[in-house]
């Protein structure tokens, strides 16, 4: 199994003479903190009323819940290069990408709480966030978010814009046929797509090395004649740099690229997952990318106590506002359960 090479106590990669200016670095940190604050709040709300014991169908937020804690560097580093005119398609683990791409937190949260004010009026749930305002979508079927992203890119190309589509999957998804078909088609048609693979070492209980024949999914790009790059260490600034190249290539009409980021699943596959299969469980928290980046930015003089405090407070305020909004929103009327099948 692939493990993070760097122990958390060693100097973070981000500290090594950053090429980024202070506002950019601060913005990356802010996004990561907002994503994490959100997931912590959903974690709290999700488990608040599942008892006695744990009943997955109970509570204000029922159903499967796949949280993205630990994967914030991917969302922050990639989405920093996008505007809400660009498209993002995500997976069953979508919150960090939705937030980093600028989704309205209230409408997103209301959907996760199954409310009429939610993005999908409570029909979709947390794996099915569809937001026309930010061209965001996601799917619970592994790798099946890639093909529609091609179509968004195709439309952007036909409209002669420089908009791009970013398609995200986990490393487990890279063994699915749709993944390979999409890379080939996008490459052949020079579609403005950025393929992003979040390698968090695990597909539920199956370690990546047990499932994948090559050490890096970035190597697979060569099979389709497109650039492939792997970012190690869950390093947000390295993600930022790789995404800059890939987005620029797509915007300029040169075609797609693939980026794989070696990231971290800080928590279970879904809530309720005891992770008995995960030998490195005890050391996982020590690889948390957020304290590491905070430390780097403090050491570089980019952030101090006050700034960190402000960033965390601002994130908490936005997140709690969204949760309060969701909780006070009306539930959908059961009499409308058959609505919205057709336009």
């Amino acid at each position: 199994m692939t493990m993070h090479a760097e122990p958390s106590t060693s100097p973070a990669a981000e500290t090594a003479a950053s090429a980024l200016d202070a506002p950019t670095r601060t913005a990356l940190f802010e996004t990561m903190v907002l994503c994490r604050t959100y997931e912590e709040a959903i974690l709290r709300e999700y488990h608040a009323d599942k008892g006695p014991g744990f009943d997955i169908g109970k509570g204000l937020v029922p159903g499967e819940m796949h949280l993205s804690a630990g994967q914030e560097p991917v969302a922050a580093g990639v989405c920093a290069h996008l505007t809400t005119d660009d498209a993002v398609t995500a997976t069953h683990r979508p919150h960090h990408l939705a937030i980093a791409h600028g989704m309205d937190l209230r409408a997103m949260t209301a959907e996760i709480f199954g409310r009429e004010t939610g993005l999908g009026r409570g029909r979709g749930g947390h794996m099915h966030l569809f937001d026309p305002a930010t061209h965001f979508s996601c799917s619970g079927i592994i790798a099946e978010g890639y093909p529609p992203a091609l179509g968004q890119a195709f439309a952007f190309q036909r409209k002669q814009t420089d908009r791009v589509a970013v398609a995200v999957t986990g490393e487990g998804a890279a063994n699915q046929g749709a993944f390979h078909e999409s890379l080939n088609l996008a490459a052949r048609w020079s579609l403005p797509v950025v393929f992003v693979v979040e390698d968090n070492d695990w597909a539920i209980s199956v370690p990546r090395d047990a499932a994948t024949a090559v050490p890096s999914n970035a190597d697979r790009a060569a099979a389709y004649g497109i650039p492939g790059e792997r970012v190690e260490d869950n390093d947000v600034e390295a993600v930022y740099a790789a995404a800059a190249r890939a987005v620029e290539r797509a915007r300029s009409g040169a075609g797609p690229s693939l980026i794989e980021i070696h990231t971290l699943r800080l928590w279970g596959h879904f809530e309720g997952d005891a992770q008995g299969y995960r030998p490195e469980l005890a050391e996982v928290p020590s690889h948390d990318p957020i304290p590491r980046y905070e430390k780097a930015l403090r050491e570089a003089g980019v952030l101090d106590d006050d700034a960190v405090q402000r960033i965390r407070a601002a994130a908490a305020e936005r997140v709690e506002d969204a949760i309060a909004y969701a909780k006070s929103s009306p539930l959908p009327d059961p009499a409308s359960a058959t609505s919205y099948v057709f336009a």
């Binding site: 014991g53 744990f54 009943d55 997955i56 169908g57 109970k58 029922p62 159903g63 499967e64 199954g114 409310r115 999908g120 409570g122 029909r123 979709g124 749930g125 794996m127 099915h128 799917s139 619970g140 079927i141 592994i142 790798a143 099946e144 487990g172 998804a173 063994n175 699915q176 046929g177 749709a178 597909a203 539920i204 209980s205 199956v206 047990a210 499932a211 994948t212 309720g272 008995g276 299969y277 539930l331 959908p332 059961p334 009499a335 409308s336 359960a337 058959t338 099948v341």
Partner: protein, 348 residues
């Protein structure tokens, strides 16, 4: 056995109480002991023991050569199951959720289901495709479907759907020994999982030792005289609850558990409706073009005058399964809808 053991004839069908999942796993383990050609493949079937406990502890017992975690490549590993079956193995292959059939349907319906026919009966595909179905816990439109009508519609695969522990064991044993592809669809809500709301009927007596339930035989889950409820899977639990309640009012509901869709025991439906003259069909799959219509046609093809009242169908009203709890429970065949349909049928 040592010579100090007292040989005892195995008590005919001694039993214990097991959850449906444990009963299913017991059948798999017994068949794996009996036949080295049986292997189990799928996602998270090893260390995890199956997301819905379809393979609990089997890895420890049989090792990674026979309990095999696959990449997330359903087309490849279901197809692999087909080829292995053709070469004489007896693979059990798990599609984690029936909803995921979309990514691998070609292997299922154009290959697994058609090879025997296309080969003029010369090539057999003795495999089991296990898959979890059903909703009720807010898993949304891509993780809550039953879809058994779709599998049953496509010729060439048997389709079994156990509702209780004993049938889960007996149908699994029969499925593994069958020389045809058998799709074995287990509802998450009947498995007796610790982390999901469950009906008491998800735990029940399961015969020790070898236990077979023939594929293609329905069961009278509760005898009655006034109205027939034809159903399957988790809806059997709900129908039995409603039947118990109505019995208190002097209404005797006969509940038929189909257990097997392909082949379908039409005779069991006709026998019951001949007795009651009233039919309610309860199906957690979509309403139109599916199982509930097939059951009704079974009766009307035979003799429409058997029916003393219009048939009532309780199914998912042709809408994807909604996420929000209140919406989901409005479309699933829950006890309230079943009871209302029975009352309408009997003009109560």
């Amino acid at each position: 056995m040592t010579i100090t053991d007292t040989p005892t004839a195995p008590a005919p069908q001694a039993s214990r109480r097991l959850t449906t999942s444990k009963a299913m796993v017991e059948a798999i383990a017994q068949e794996m002991e009996r036949d080295p050609a049986v292997v189990y493949l799928g996602e998270d079937v090893g260390a995890y023991g199956g997301i819905f406990s379809s393979t609990t502890d089997l890895l420890a017992r049989f090792g990674p050569e026979r309990i095999i975690d696959t990449p997330i490549s359903e087309t490849a590993f279901i197809g692999l199951g087909i080829g292995a079956a053709v070469e004489g193995m007896r693979p059990i292959v798990e599609l984690m959720f029936a909803d995921f059939m979309g990514v691998c349907l070609d292997q299922i319906y154009n290959h697994m289901a058609k090879i025997h026919f296309e080969s003029g009966g010369n090539v057999r595909v003795p495999m089991v495709l296990t898959t979890a179905v059903g909703g009720g816990y807010s898993d949304g439109a891509q993780h809550s479907q039953c879809l058994w009508g779709t599998f049953a519609h496509l010729p060439g695969m048997k389709v079994v759907v156990p509702s209780n522990p004993a049938d889960a064991k007996g149908l699994m044993t029969s499925a593994i020994r069958d020389d045809n592809p058998v799709v074995y669809m287990f509802h998450k809500g009947v498995m007796g999982l610790a982390w999901m709301a469950k009906n008491a009927r998800s735990v029940g007596d399961v015969p020790d030792g070898e236990h077979l339930v023939p594929i293609g035989k329905a069961a009278v889950a509760r005898p009655g005289t006034d109205v027939t409820v034809v159903t399957l899977s988790l809806s059997v639990h709900h129908a039995l609850d409603v039947a118990e309640k109505l019995s208190g009012e002097g209404v005797e509901v006969e509940v038929i558990d189909l257990r097997s869709l392909v082949p379908l025991e039409r005779e069991a439906i006709l026998t019951s409706v001949a007795k009651t003259g009233h039919l309610v069909v309860v199906d957690e799959d979509y309403l139109s073009f599916g199982l509930s219509g097939e059951v009704v046609a079974t009766v009307t093809d035979h003799d429409p005058t058997m029916l003393k009242a219009p048939v009532h169908r309780v199914a998912v009203p042709d809408v994807p399964i909604p996420y929000a709890h209140g919406l989901e429970y409005a479309v699933l065949p829950r006890p309230d809808r079943i009871e209302a349909a029975i009352r309408r049928s009997l003009a109560l």
